[in-house]
């Protein structure tokens, strides 16, 4: 009964503190919305997805068709097909409308096939002493035009260049096989050979290293929603610490300490109440990711299908945050001190932990340092569930770290209070 009343009291105090509620719920919502919108294009670039590409196909044959199919299948590029002159393509890219422009001139595939066939025919003819020159219908050189915006990443250039080279090789190879086939038929008119096989000998399978065959690609929403939710959960240390300091300053803590067993109950009440608040924050922020962000043109947050595990991560992070709040509230001697120390410390932990800038774009040294931040443990756990559909088997070390942090901060608060009373 004491505990229930203690929780009820905390609930009443919290719900009547409008400024505290604003910090607790509105701040993370606004941060998620702003940061997701700001970082969306950056994440797209990091993810190498949806790079605008202008594709001018004057060939309408195998090279252009295969290249277009390949570019589409890579999912890196958003293809726009237009019929423009080379100068116009160059202008479009220069103006930043497209990062890459590709022009496939007319008859490119036909010329390529002819010349490949000619090469093998010439080679085979030379065995029989025939040195007749092959005459082409079109002797002009084959030119593919690629236009790159100067800011285009090298990886995109390499991707396009490799794709074109690979397709040209395929067409050359096909031409050679056709020529060889024709020559062999001439040498063995009675033979009935099977049709040449075009299927590749090696198949390369690309798959995301996720569990349960999930292949969710990380994006700004999947980073920012858990990141800022964790930030808000840990920011709860400021109202919680303020609450503890206020009780100490107005004599309530003194009164509670004189009641049998009550101070422990009151602290437990705070711990449970603020942990529930952090869980409510988590649910609300998920709702922002699922329902609000899509309204702003952002991708919808995909939370995977392991809800109990998500709850466990949120609970662990909530307890870690509340434990930290209790420690700050116990050590700080004034509300100003708690606010300053709490906010600066959380901002540093957030920066280190990959809330502001995700760890996967950090330099190696920062990636190493990031593992000391509890926000990083929570964030990595959320990534694992959202992106890789991980199970408890994969993320238990991160969850254990959050629990150890919670127990350490709680013990620290208890021991500090005991030490101060002994002094």
């Amino acid at each position: 009964m004491k505990l229930i009343y203690s929780i009820y009291k905390e609930y009443k105090v919290l719900t009547r503190d409008r400024a505290g509620l604003a910090i607790t719920f509105i701040m993370p919502t606004v941060l998620i919305l702003i940061m997701t919108l700001i970082q969306d294009s950056t994440f797209k670039s990091v993810n190498e997805s949806s790079v605008p590409l202008l594709f001018v196909d004057r060939d309408h044959d195998s090279l252009s068709q295969t290249l277009e199919k390949y570019i589409n299948s890579s999912k890196f590029f958003a293809i726009t097909k237009k019929q423009l002159s080379n100068e116009e393509v160059k202008k479009e890219v220069a103006q930043g409308h497209f990062l890459i422009g590709i022009v496939i001139p007319e008859n490119t595939s036909k010329k390529l096939r002819e010349r490949s066939t000619a090469r093998i025919t010439k080679l085979l003819n030379s065995f029989s002493g025939d040195s007749t020159e092959i005459v082409f219908s079109d002797t002009s050189k084959i030119h593919l035009h690629l236009f790159f915006d100067p800011v285009t990443k090298q990886s995109f250039k390499t991707t396009i260049g490799s794709a074109i080279e690979r397709i040209i090789s395929q067409i050359e190879m096909q031409g050679m096989i056709v020529a060889l086939n024709t020559k062999m038929k001439e040498s063995f008119p009675e033979a009935k050979p099977s049709a040449p096989e075009n299927a590749p000998l090696v198949n390369v399978t690309e798959e995301y290293a996720s569990y349960n065959n999930s292949s969710i690609i990380p994006n700004a929403v999947q980073h920012n929603v858990p990141a800022w939710t964790l930030f808000a959960m840990f920011f709860i240390c400021i109202p919680l610490a303020g609450n503890i300091i206020k009780e100490r300053q107005d004599g309530s803590a003194f009164r509670l300490l004189t009641m049998p067993g009550s101070y422990f109950i009151v602290m437990l009440g705070k711990l449970l109440t603020y942990t529930v608040v952090s869980l409510v924050q988590f649910i609300l922020m998920l709702c922002v990711g699922i329902f609000i962000l899509p309204l702003l043109g952002m991708p919808q947050l995909n939370i995977g299908d392991n809800l109990p595990l998500l709850f466990l991560i949120a609970l662990s992070a909530g307890l870690a945050a509340t434990g930290f709040g209790l420690l700050v509230g116990t050590i700080a001697t004034s509300h100003d001190q708690a606010s300053l120390f709490g906010s600066v410390f959380i901002i540093i932990l957030a920066a280190i932990g990959g809330v502001w800038v995700p760890t996967f774009v950090m330099p190696d040294i920062m990636k190493t340092i990031s593992v000391i931040s509890p926000l990083n443990w929570g964030l990595e756990s959320f990534y694992a569930v959202f992106i890789r559909n991980s199970t408890i088997k994969e993320i238990w070390p991160e969850i254990l770290k959050l629990w150890v942090f919670f127990i350490a901060t709680l013990s620290g608060a208890y021991l500090y209070q005991k030490y101060k009373r002994l002094q």
């Binding site: 009964m1 009343y5 009291k9 309530s252 003194f254 004189t258």
Partner: protein
């Protein structure tokens, strides 16, 4: 009279402090007494009260409450004591009713008996019409009265009042003192009272102890102290014993 509180050679020195806050203090508080503990700022009153309430242990000496110590019977000792701190130890965003219900539950009270107790005290102290008003909207005197009720809810045998009438108007002060006198007379509640209102202490207390620099200087019944020191009032006795030097 039966001894309720027995203080035996209690001392307490804080770390890094140049001298002891309480220095070899011995005194007894008998059941039914209104015991005034007077002294200038820094005399050791708050340290003494904190030890009496079990917030921390004395460096040396023993404190017996009803024959028991906090070391061995913390729960029983705390159950006997009711504390009214000098600060308004209430939650300003909660109503008087919510504050008192919470504190009542923390004392282990519940149900209708708690509700009746709260209503009764609010009525006696003239707060029944403001019962569902937030504490933040109360006047200083109203807050003091609710602060007092919070310490009385569990019918403590020993009520510790740390300057209960500081900063309140005459009407509230009178209501508080009259209620305390009534409790002392009717239920035999023992009261330990500290104040800088020496005239109030003279009229209210049945026994007064003056301490300074952690030591007991003098103690006795108010009129006896006045007579022994050839003074006209407790204030004169106090100034005679502690001097006129500032204690900041």
């Amino acid at each position: 009279m039966i001894v309720l509180v027995d203080i035996q050679h209690v001392s307490k020195k804080y770390k890094d402090a140049p001298k002891a806050a309480v220095n070899d203090l011995s005194l007894t508080i008998k059941k039914g007494e209104v015991f005034g503990l007077l002294g200038p700022n820094g005399a050791g009153k708050t340290t003494f009260i904190s030890m009496l309430c079990g917030l921390f242990q004395p460096g040396s000496g023993e404190i017996f409450i009803n024959g028991r110590t906090h070391k061995t019977h913390s729960k029983e000792c705390k159950q006997i004591i009711g504390v009214v701190p000098q600060e308004i130890a209430l939650y300003p965003q909660l109503t008087a009713w919510e504050n008192l219900m919470f504190l009542g539950h923390m004392y282990g009270l519940k149900g209708n008996s708690l509700k009746e107790k709260i209503k009764e005290n609010l009525k006696i102290l003239g707060l029944e019409s403001n019962i569902h008003q937030k504490i933040i909207s109360y006047s200083g005197g109203m807050k003091r009265r609710v602060n007092l009720i919070a310490g009385l809810l569990h019918n403590p045998q020993l009520l510790i009042l740390d300057e209960p009438t500081v900063g309140v108007d005459v009407q509230s002060k009178q209501a508080i003192i009259e209620h305390l006198k009534k409790l002392n007379k009717e239920s035999g509640m023992t009261i330990l009272y500290t104040s800088h209102h020496l005239d109030e202490a003279e009229n209210f207390c049945t026994h007064i102890a003056i301490i300074d620099e952690g030591k007991l200087i003098t103690q006795g019944q108010p009129q006896e102290l006045i007579r022994q020191n050839n003074c006209n009032s407790i204030e004169d006795v106090y100034l005679k014993m502690t001097g006129t030097k500032f204690r900041d």
